[in-house]
Each structure stands twice: as structure tokens, then as C-alpha cells.
């Protein structure tokens, strides 16, 4: 009410203009019609970063820590990124990545019961058909048999090297290990040799896309390479 007569036009404000210091005749800053710019011009430039040994060491620590966390089993990879074109070799490459996940078995007593994961999650993410499951169980039996053969070979080797004192421990260890394997059935699949995966007769490097530059230097330069 009080301001109606006087403040006609633009300058009608709820507080007394004199008290805050806007005198008559002063031009107000122009009213803003759009949001402020995203990167406004700074009148004062910011200070440079502190350098020095300590800062560099902290920087190195930080980057190493980040890199190390990426390799740990607690870094959960999302489902493998879909490539632009589906390739035939994808079927044979998908098993390789999941080993790191299986390394970490937490102490389940410290977690609530409902979080216990018995089977690995690999099957859930990609579409699994029943035939795949049947094949994988068959393959597991094959793998187990072949692993037993491998183990026996290794123990024989060790026996030759070490003699009888270590033998008993190793046998016990072997039994323990077999029991562990049976309990943690899926978690312990180790693909020692690439030949035992997925009933192929080819080694895994057969399915290489050629995307990795093979920088192997051949030691035998005598024979010609075709």
C-alpha cells in the first residue's frame, strides 16, 4: 500500500531502498533474463597446486591404489560389454574373465545368511540354455578326471624331488583339496590347459581375433616361416 503511489513503474521493492543503500538515480544492475553462464569469467585466477615431494608421493599412492582396486575380486565387472558384431570366438572367451571373482571367499560367519552365494553368478548374466548346462556338467566331470590325472603327475614329480617326508603331507593335502573341490564345486574350476574347455579340439589361440598384436619373437630363426 505504501509504495503504490511512489513506486509506480519499475522500482517497487519490499524493503526500503535507502536502508540497503540504493540511492535515487543510481542505476540498478540489469535484471537477469536467463540462467547464469556455466563457466563464468573469473576475476581472480586460482592459486597453483602445491607441488613438492609429498604431493607427488601422495599422487603416486592414489593412482596405484586405484589400479590395485581394479584388479581385486571386489571390483565387480559388469556384464561383458557387447561388441559391435557378435563373433564366433566370444563363446570360447567368456570363461576366462571370471577366475578373479572366484578367488575371494569371505568368512561367511560375518555376513548375514541370506547373502551367501552358492553358485557363481556367471550363469545368470548371459543367457544360458539347458544344453549348455548339461554340457557344462559333463565338462566338469571331464575336467575333474583330467585334473586328477594332472595332480597325480604332479605328486609323482614332487615325490621324485622331495622324497618321502613331504609325501604324506601332500597326500593329506590332496585329499583335503579334493574335499574342498567337491564342496565348492563350481568355484574351483581351473582351466590349466586350454584344450579342456568346451569340447573343442582346438587350443584357445585358434579363436584369437587377431586383434592383439602378436609380438612373440621367435627364437628359432633358422626355419623359414610361411
Amino acid at each position: 500500500m505504501a509504495g503504490r503511489g511512489r513506486g509506480r513503474g519499475r522500482r517497487l521493492m519490499t524493503f526500503s531502498v535507502e536502508a540497503v543503500g540504493i540511492n535515487r538515480g543510481d542505476s540498478l544492475p540489469p535484471s537477469i533474463q536467463q540462467p547464469t553462464p556455466v563457466y563464468p569469467v573469473m576475476e581472480q585466477k586460482p592459486l597453483p597446486l602445491t607441488g613438492g615431494e609429498e604431493a607427488e608421493y601422495l599422487l603416486a599412492l592414489k593412482q596405484e591404489f586405484r589400479g590395485a582396486m581394479k584388479t581385486l575380486p571386489s571390483f565387480i565387472q559388469p556384464a561383458a560389454a557387447l561388441r559391435d558384431v557378435e563373433r564366433y570366438s566370444d563363446k570360447y572367451h567368456s570363461g576366462e574373465q571370471n577366475d578373479a571373482l572366484m578367488d575371494w571367499t569371505p568368512d561367511w560367519k560375518r555376513f548375514p545368511k541370506e547373502l551367501r552365494v552358492r553358485r557363481p553368478a556367471t550363469d545368470c548374466v548371459s543367457a544360458v540354455s539347458r544344453s549348455d548346462r548339461v554340457q557344462s556338467s559333463q565338462k566338469k566331470k571331464q575336467v575333474k578326471e583330467k585334473e586328477e590325472v594332472l595332480l597325480k603327475l604332479e605328486t609323482l614329480e614332487k615325490k621324485e624331488e622331495r622324497g618321502s617326508s613331504g609325501e604324506e603331507e601332500e597326500e593329506q593335502g590332496e585329499e583335503k583339496k579334493k574335499k574342498q573341490e567337491e564342496e565348492e564345486a563350481d568355484a574351483e574350476e581351473e582351466y590349466d590347459e586350454e584344450e579342456f574347455e568346451e569340447e573343442t579340439d582346438y587350443i584357445m589361440s585358434y579363436f584369437d581375433n587377431g586383434e592383439e598384436f602378436g609380438g612373440d619373437s621367435d627364437e628359432n630363426m633358422d626355419e623359414a616361416i610361411y
Binding site: 543503500g21 599412492l61 560367519k109 548375514p112 553368478a121 593335502g173 592383439e212 619373437s217
Partner: protein, 547 residues
């Protein structure tokens, strides 16, 4: 849980644990305590993946689970808090502190524990010994006992603590074996709050562990041998007498250490090296007697301080008295006098020191953003509390027009507030006083949120830069791998130079500038974290003082 905090936590989780954990974690942060079914339903992720993410979060202490609120039968609920996640920013500083205090061994122990969340003493000792052996020359290896010693020292000074036992959280079974019940757990297995580590009476007791041996060097020979080692590691089921006792890093203790460092360096900057040594001695003497939330240390007599000064700083007794008087009279009020017995009783005023440090931080922010004259106005308002516009101009000795401008800029940035004092009950504008004022605590909170936003922006920019040059980075990584394998198999220099030339000069330049940018962004994050620590400590200290 402000929006900025949630955004920053999401980015940190993504960098360290992957996108899946980020999704689950941010959802829990936004919605509070939830049970598993609701979580799966609302995030839309499959059951197994959610379980895995929750395991990772619980393992690292980010998420706590407790029995449901509706009674003993209800499902367990998971609660996340942003404090733990925001601490990830400070991990390099913790590791560096451990290095300065306990050498490389301490550094690696803390690093392992931070990476894994919690571990038993025996597994920590073994891993650290192996890592140290890797870096030593051939033929040498690290003994387990040395590492155990370092571990025990860390526990004695409270830098490490035992993880609290899971006392019947959400289950009807009894607590895990070999742990005494915490004093707060009632008979009914529904506890209102999860037991903190401090309430566990044995939390700093080192268990008796039988660990003999030396670190193993990882053999880089054929693959078969590695496989055998891997198998052997899993067969290694020897118990060391400390099963079920997990250790975690005690962040509060590190924070107290950082706070003490900040006070000592502030005194050194203002009053000189000798005064800072005196304050350092006082803080060291009261390390064990002061509780973390205490306002000031216990009173120390001048005689005790004199006896405990380090030998390299032998000053005469009357000189010490003079220094102490100087410290007490200083307007920053780091040290106060609490009595006359024993040659004078002195305390270090911790909360007041933190408040002064926070005030100095805020003042320097204003100075760097708006110039030294605006900073003068700001400091004036901090000291004089409430001033009218005219008085501001007079006291600051700045011409009216400029003072007005600066005040309005500060007002629009919310660093300065207007307080209305009416003369009449109807708040008529012509009959009201308008006073400018600065409130330190809300301003500190606002700057803290700004810091969180800053760090989040820095991380996003870094991720953007890496994604932009992903192709280039991958190519350079591949070339490095090829070079390494060539060198390992003893190739000739021509082959090496040929492979090196696969990266063109302009690409090399691009890579160099990319590396420079990423390093700058990373070390900027570290620096902003120092400010975050100061402001957070100040805000927390006022919170505890008020309650």
C-alpha cells in the same frame, strides 16, 4: 545425505568397486535402511549380483546390516552411510602417514587392509612379507616376525583395531564363538544399534599367533609352477590361532593424528619452531589420556613439559615459561592456562584450535575468490558480528560505492547474511535495522558441500578425459606390453626402436599432455581433501560439543 555427497560417493564407488556396486550403493544411500527384497525390486538388478555387491560393501565396512525393525522375524536391513565412502579420498594420506611413522612395513600393512576391508593378522603378515620380498634383492626375504612386530606396534598405538563381532545381527543363532558378548547386547537378538568397535573390550589386544616363516618370492618361471603355487596356497589350511579375528583400520585415530599435525604446523607458521615443539610435546604427552571428542587436553604442568621436551631442544626453564606465556597470550588461543600449581597448568584447546583453523580456511577462500578488500570486509564482520552498511564502510575504510558492491557480491554468494531488527512490530522497511552478519558454522557447512561438489567435478572430468583418449591409451598400453616382452626375450635395439616408432610424435605429445592433465586433476583432489578434512573436523567438533 546431501545430493552432492551422494553424487561423490557414487563416483568413488564406481572407480573402486565397479558400476554395479555404485548402483546398489547409491540406491541404499538415497533410501536409507532397506531389506534385500526391496533392494532387488527397486534397483532391478538380479539377485546374485545384488548379493555380491552387498558382500563387497559389507566387507569394506561401508554397509552395516541389522535385524529388521519390525521384530525378530523380519528380514535383515542394510544401511549405508556416506562417511565411509568419503574416506576413500583420504586413503593415500593414511598410507603416507603409516609410512612416515612405521616405515615401509607399516605402509604396506595399511595399504593391504585398506584394499581388502578387513583381514586376519596372519593373512596380512603373509601378504605383506611376500610383497616386501618381491622388492628385495635376490636371496633376501622378509621375516614374518618383523612384519608381526610392525603390526603389533600399529595395534598398540591404536591405528588398527579389531572388527566388532557380529552379535546375532538378524539371526536367531548365538554369537560367533571366541568373542565375549559386547556389553550393550541385550538378550533379545534385536539390537538397536550395531556394536561399535570401541565397545568391544578386547579391541586392541593382539592375539597370540604362531607365525614362523619368511616371505615367499613369487617365481616368474613357467606357468605350471605358478599354478602349483596357487594350488598350494589353497591347500594351506594351517591355522595360526587367530581364526575369526579380523582387523580393520581405525580411521578416528588417523584423524586425531592429522588434527594434531594441523595444530602443530599452524603454531609453527605463526609462532616459530620452538613453540611448535612445545605444543608437539604437550600433544604427545596427552595422546593416551585425551578422549577423541574432548574439548581440550588434560592439564599439564610446566614441570612435566620441561621434563618431556626432546633432548635436541634443550632450552632453559625460564625460557620455557616465556614461550608458554606467549602461547597463552596469542589471540589464536591454541594453549590456555588452567591453573597455577606446578609452575602453571597448561592445556591445548582442541576445539578452539579447530574453529580457528576453519575460520582461517574460510577467510582464505573469500580472499582468493573475491580479492583482499572483500576479505577485509569478511574478517571485519566475523569479528564484529553485526554491522550496518554504513558502519561496514567506515570500519573497513573502503569507499562507499565499492564497499556496497562487495557486500552485495558476498551476499549473493551466501557468505554474508542479512539480519533484520525491527523497531516496530509490523516490520515496516523504513523502520527496520538491516545488519550484515557472518555465521561461521553454516558458512563452513556450505563450503564443505562446495568441496564435495568440487571433488565430484574433478573426478568426472578425469573420467571424461580418460574416456576421450581411450583408444590412444589402449594403443600405448599394448605397445608397452610388446616392448616389455621383447626386452625380456632379448631382442635387438632395432626391433625395439621399430616398435617404439609405432606411436607417432603427435600421439606421444597427446599422451604426455593427457598424463599431465590427469596428474593435475588427481593431485587437486588430494588438496581439496585436506580442506574437507579441516572443515569436517570443525563441523563434527561443534556437533559433539552441542550434544
Amino acid at each position: 545425505m546431501t545430493a552432492q555427497e551422494v553424487r561423490l560417493c557414487g563416483l568413488l564407488l564406481r572407480e573402486h568397486f565397479g558400476e554395479l556396486v555404485e548402483k546398489v550403493g547409491t540406491h541404499l544411500l538415497r533410501s536409507g535402511a532397506q531389506n534385500l527384497r526391496t533392494l532387488i525390486h527397486e534397483t532391478g538388478i538380479s539377485l546374485d549380483l545384488v548379493k555380491k555387491s552387498l558382500c563387497v560393501l559389507v566387507q569394506h565396512g561401508v554397509c552395516v546390516f541389522s535385524a529388521g525393525r519390525k521384530g525378530p522375524g523380519s528380514p535383515t536391513e542394510y544401511l549405508t552411510s556416506s562417511d565411509h565412502i568419503l574416506r576413500i579420498l583420504r586413503y593415500p594420506r593414511y598410507i603416507y602417514t603409516a609410512k612416515t611413522l612405521y616405515g615401509d612395513t607399516g605402509e604396506l600393512i595399511i595399504e593391504e587392509l585398506l584394499q581388502r576391508g578387513d583381514m586376519t593378522m596372519s593373512s596380512t603378515v603373509k601378504t605383506v612379507a611376500d610383497r616386501l620380498t618381491q622388492n628385495m634383492e635376490d636371496g633376501h626375504s622378509m621375516d614374518y616376525s618383523e612384519v608381526s612386530n610392525a603390526f603389533s606396534k600399529l595395534v598398540e598405538t591404536h591405528f588398527l583395531q579389531r572388527c566388532p563381532p557380529m552379535a546375532a545381527a538378524g539371526k536367531k543363532e548365538s554369537t560367533t564363538s571366541a568373542t565375549p558378548a559386547t556389553p550393550g547386547t541385550p538378550a533379545v537378538p534385536v539390537s538397536t544399534a550395531p556394536p561399535s568397535a570401541e565397545s568391544f573390550p578386547d579391541c586392541y589386544r593382539v592375539p597370540h599367533v604362531t607365525l614362523t616363516g619368511r616371505g615367499k618370492r613369487q617365481l616368474s618361471s613357467e606357468d605350471g609352477e605358478d599354478q602349483r603355487n596357487a594350488k598350494k596356497a589353497r591347500m594351506d589350511t594351517e591355522t595360526h590361532g587367530d581364526e575369526g579375528i579380523y582387523w580393520q583400520v581405525n580411521f578416528e585415530r588417523f584423524h586425531l593424528h592429522f588434527r594434531d599435525q594441523a595444530i602443530i604446523s599452524a603454531v609453527a607458521n605463526k609462532l616459530g619452531q620452538t613453540s611448535s615443539e612445545i605444543v608437539r610435546t604437550m600433544l604427545r604427552m596427552s595422546e593416551v589420556t585425551t578422549s577423541p571428542t574432548a574439548t581440550c587436553t588434560k592439564p599439564l604442568s610446566a614441570n612435566e613439559i620441561f621434563r618431556s621436551l626432546p633432548n635436541s631442544y634443550s632450552i632453559a626453564r625460564p625460557i620455557l615459561d616465556q614461550y608458554l606465556t606467549l602461547l597463552v597470550d596469542d589471540p589464536m588461543e591454541f594453549v590456555g592456562k588452567a591453573g597455577e600449581s606446578g609452575g602453571g597448568m597448561f592445556v591445548v584447546n582442541l576445539h578452539r584450535a579447530l574453529a580457528n583453523l576453519a575460520r582461517a580456511t574460510i577467510e582464505s577462500v573469500v580472499q582468493e575468490r573475491f580479492g583482499s578488500r572483500s576479505a577485509r570486509i569478511f574478517r571485519l564482520l566475523l569479528r564484529k558480528r553485526h554491522l550496518e552498511q554504513k558502519q561496514v564502510e567506515d570500519f573497513a575504510m573502503i569507499p562507499a560505492k565499492e564497499a556496497k558492491d562487495m557486500l552485495y557480491t558476498l551476499l549473493s554468494q551466501n557468505l554474508v547474511q542479512l539480519q533484520e531488527i525491527p523497531k516496530t512490530p509490523d516490520y515496516a522497511p523504513s523502520r527496520t535495522f538491516y545488519l550484515y552478519t557472518v555465521n561461521q558454522l553454516p558458512t563452513a557447512r556450505m563450503l564443505l558441500q562446495n568441496c564435495y561438489k568440487t571433488v565430484a567435478n574433478l573426478i568426472e572430468r578425469r573420467l571424461f578425459e580418460t574416456k576421450d583418449s581411450k583408444r590412444l591409451l589402449e594403443k600405448s598400453q599394448r605397445i608397452e606390453a610388446i616392448l616389455a616382452s621383447l626386452q625380456a626375450s632379448g631382442a635387438e635395439p632395432e626391433q625395439l626402436s621399430e616398435v617404439e616408432e609405432m606411436i607417432t610424435a603427435s600421439e606421444k605429445q597427446q599422451l604426455a599432455s593427457l598424463r599431465l592433465h590427469i596428474n593435475k586433476l588427481d593431485s587437486a583432489e588430494n588438496q581439496v581433501d585436506e580442506t574437507i578434512f579441516l572443515l569436517e573436523s570443525y563441523v563434527n567438533s561443534t556437533a559433539t560439543a552441542a550434544s
